[in-house]
C-alpha cells in the first residue's frame, strides 16, 4: 500500500488523502455498469422468472428468441434500418461538416446550428410529427420512412465527429494539393479523406447505433412487418417481463459494446 503515501496531485495531496474520492467514484462507476450488464447472466437462467444468479443455467430463452419468427423479423429490420441509416447519414453529415468548416462563409455558423436542431427538438415531437406527415404520404410502417427519420437524428452526430476531426487537421495540405493542380474534389479524396477516415468510420458506427437503439420514432412510424426490435421490446416491457427480453437485451448489449469498442479503438488509432 505504498502508493497511498505517494503524492496524487499538484496540491500536496497523497493518494491516501484521495482515498474517499476513489471509493466514491468506484461506487458510482459500479452503479453505472452493473445495471447495464446485469441482464447478461439473467438471460442464461432456466427459470420462468428472472433470477440472479440463475440456479440452473440454460439457453432456453435464446432458443425461444431464435425460433420466433416475430423476433427474427424485427431483428433483421433493425439491422436493415441501422445499416441504411449509416449509409445515408455518414455522407450527408460529412459533406455538411466539411462544407461548413471549409467555406468560412458568414452563414456557416448559423447553418451549422440549424443542422444540429434534431439534437435539440424533443424526440417525441419529431416522432409524432413524422407519424402525422408520413400518414399523409404513406410512409408509415415502411423501411424508407424510419430510415429517413433516423438519418435526420444521426447526421448531427456525424457532423460533430467530423467537425472535430477537421479541427485537428491542417487544411493547408489541401491548399498545397490544389496549388499543385488538383481540383478541390481530388484534393479532398486524395489528401483529406485518408486523414479523417478513422473519424468517418467512428461516425458511421455511431450513426448505426443511434438507429439500432432508437425507440420513440420506431414506436410511432415503424410497424406491421417492418416493426423494429425496439418497438416489439417496448410493447413487451409494458405488458410483462419475459426472460426472452433478457436474451434479446444481451444481444443488443453485445452489438453496442462491440461497435463502441471498435469506435474507441479506431478513433484512438486516428490520433
Amino acid at each position: 500500500m505504498k502508493w497511498l503515501k505517494k503524492p496524487a496531485s499538484d496540491t500536496q495531496l497523497t493518494h491516501g488523502d484521495r482515498l474517499w474520492l476513489y471509493i466514491v467514484a468506484a461506487i458510482i462507476m459500479l452503479l453505472l455498469v452493473i445495471p447495464t450488464f446485469i441482464v447478461l447472466p439473467m438471460s442464461f437462467s432456466d427459470s420462468q422468472y428472472l433470477e440472479f444468479p440463475p440456479e440452473v443455467w440454460s439457453t432456453r430463452w435464446y432458443a425461444v428468441y431464435f425460433e420466433s419468427s416475430k423476433w427474427m423479423r424485427a431483428t433483421v429490420t433493425s439491422f436493415q434500418v441501422g445499416i441504411l441509416t449509416m449509409l445515408l447519414a455518414t455522407p450527408l453529415g460529412t459533406m455538411a461538416a466539411y462544407a461548413l468548416f471549409v467555406s468560412g462563409h458568414r452563414a456557416a455558423r448559423a447553418i451549422f446550428a440549424f443542422l444540429i436542431t434534431p439534437m435539440i427538438v424533443p424526440v417525441i415531437l419529431i416522432a409524432i410529427g413524422a407519424f402525422y406527415a408520413y400518414g399523409r404520404v404513406g410512409l408509415n410502417n415502411t423501411i424508407t420512412g424510419i430510415v429517413l427519420a433516423h438519418t435526420v437524428l444521426a447526421s448531427p452526430l456525424v457532423m460533430i465527429v467530423i467537425t472535430s476531426a477537421l479541427r485537428n487537421y491542417d487544411l493547408n495540405q489541401e491548399r498545397v494539393a490544389r496549388s499543385l493542380g488538383a481540383t478541390r474534389l481530388k484534393a479532398f479524396f486524395v489528401i483529406t479523406l485518408p486523414q479523417i477516415k478513422f473519424s468517418i468510420v467512428t461516425a458511421a458506427l455511431l450513426s448505426f447505433l443511434t438507429s439500432f437503439d432508437e425507440v420513440i420514432i420506431a414506436i410511432f412510424v415503424s410497424g406491421g412487418l417492418n416493426a423494429t426490435l425496439t418497438k416489439h421490446m417496448f410493447a413487451a416491457l409494458r405488458d410483462f417481463i419475459d426472460p426472452t427480453i433478457a436474451a434479446i437485451s444481451t444481444i443488443m448489449i453485445l452489438v453496442s459494446t462491440t461497435l463502441l469498442l471498435a469506435a474507441q479503438f479506431i478513433g484512438g488509432k486516428g490520433k
Partner: protein, 302 residues
C-alpha cells in the same frame, strides 16, 4: 486618392473583382454540399413540426382557435402533468450533479491512459440501448427483485419495498440514463482547467480544500451548467423510462402526448402539448446561451 486615374491599379481592381466573383462562386459550391442534410431536416422536422404547430391552433372546422391551449390552463390534469415533468426533470438533474461531479472529478484527475479506461464505465452505459437499461432496472427493482432480496437478507428493511412503478423507480432509471450526459461535458471542462492555477493557489498558501473550492470549482462550473442543462432539457421530453418504470403513475408531457393520441386521437391537443414542450426547451436553452457560452462548452469553438 484618385484610383481610376492610375491604369495599373485599375487592372488590379479588375483582377480583384474576378477573384472575388470566383471566391463567391466557390463558396456557394461548397455550401451546396450541406444542402442534402438541410433538405432532410426541412422534410422530416421543419415541415412536420410546422404542421403540428398549425394543427394546435385550429379547431375541428379548420377555424383559428386557442381551445387546445385553453384546456391546458383550465384542466387540472394538465397542471399535474406539467408539475410532474418539472419535478422529475429537476430531481433527475440534481441527482446527476451529486453523482456526476465526483465521478467527473475523479476521471479528470487521472492520467490520460487510465482515464480512457475508466471512461468506458461512462461510455458503455451511454451507448447501451436505454430500453435495455430501463428493462434492467425494472428487473432489479421489482417486488421480489435483487435489490429487495438483498436489502431484506441484509436486514435493511423487512418486507419488500415498492421501488418501481412509481416516482422512485422513475428517478433511479432516469438518473442512470442521464448521468453520462452530465459527466461528459463536465469532464471536458475540467480537463481544460490549467494545472498552473492549482499550483498558484497552493503557492499562495491555499490548502487543498481551499484551492478546490475557490479556484477549481468555480472554473468547472461552466461545464457543470452545460451538462445540467442537457440533462434537464432531455428530461423534459423523456418518454420511455417514465412510461415503463413509472407504471402509469408518473405522467410526464411525452407520456401525455402519446396517451392523447392513443385514446382520443386528438391531434390538436397532442400538438399543442408538443408545441409547449418545444417552446419550454428552447426557452431554457436560450436563457442558458445568454447566461454562458453554451455552444462553446458543448462543441468547442467553431
Amino acid at each position: 486618392m484618385n484610383v481610376s486615374a492610375d491604369p495599373d491599379s485599375r487592372n488590379e481592381g479588375l483582377n480583384e473583382k474576378t477573384l472575388r466573383v470566383q471566391g463567391v462562386r466557390e463558396q456557394r459550391m461548397l455550401l451546396s454540399l450541406a444542402l442534402p442534410a438541410l433538405l432532410a431536416i426541412v422534410a422530416i422536422i421543419v415541415i412536420p413540426v410546422g404542421w403540428l404547430f398549425y394543427l394546435s391552433f385550429v379547431d375541428g372546422n379548420g377555424q383559428f382557435s386557442l381551445a387546445n391551449y385553453q384546456k391546458m390552463i383550465e384542466y387540472k390534469s394538465y397542471a399535474r402533468v406539467f408539475l410532474t415533468t418539472f419535478q422529475v426533470s429537476i430531481l433527475t438533474t440534481v441527482i446527476c450533479i451529486l453523482f456526476g461531479y465526483p465521478l467527473a472529478y475523479f476521471l479528470a484527475m487521472l492520467p490520460q491512459r487510465l482515464a480512457g479506461i475508466f471512461m468506458l464505465a461512462v461510455l458503455l452505459p451511454f451507448w447501451t440501448s436505454l430500453l435495455v437499461r430501463t428493462y434492467a432496472w425494472l428487473v432489479l427493482l421489482q417486488r421480489n427483485g435483487i435489490l429487495n432480496d438483498f436489502a431484506i437478507s441484509a436486514g435493511i428493511w423487512e418486507t419488500p419495498v415498492k421501488l418501481v412503478h412509481n416516482m422512485t423507480g422513475t428517478l433511479i432509471g432516469m438518473a442512470h440514463i442521464m448521468l453520462p450526459f452530465l459527466v461528459l461535458p463536465l469532464y471536458g471542462s475540467m480537463k481544460k482547467i490549467e494545472r498552473d492555477m492549482m499550483h498558484a493557489a497552493a503557492n499562495l498558501g491555499a490548502s487543498p480544500v481551499q484551492s478546490f473550492w475557490r479556484v477549481y470549482f468555480p472554473l468547472s462550473l461552466s461545464g457543470m451548467v452545460a451538462g445540467s442543462l442537457i440533462v434537464f432539457v432531455l428530461c423534459l421530453g423523456f418518454y420511455v423510462t417514465p412510461a415503463v418504470l413509472g407504471g402509469g403513475r408518473v405522467v410526464m408531457v411525452a407520456t401525455q402526448i402519446t396517451a392523447i393520441l392513443e385514446n382520443q386521437y386528438d391531434w390538436g391537443a397532442a400538438s399543442a402539448l408538443g408545441v409547449v414542450l418545444l417552446v419550454a426547451t428552447l426557452l431554457v436553452l436560450f436563457a442558458a446561451t445568454r447566461l454562458l457560452k453554451l455552444d462553446a462548452a458543448l462543441f468547442g469553438k467553431h
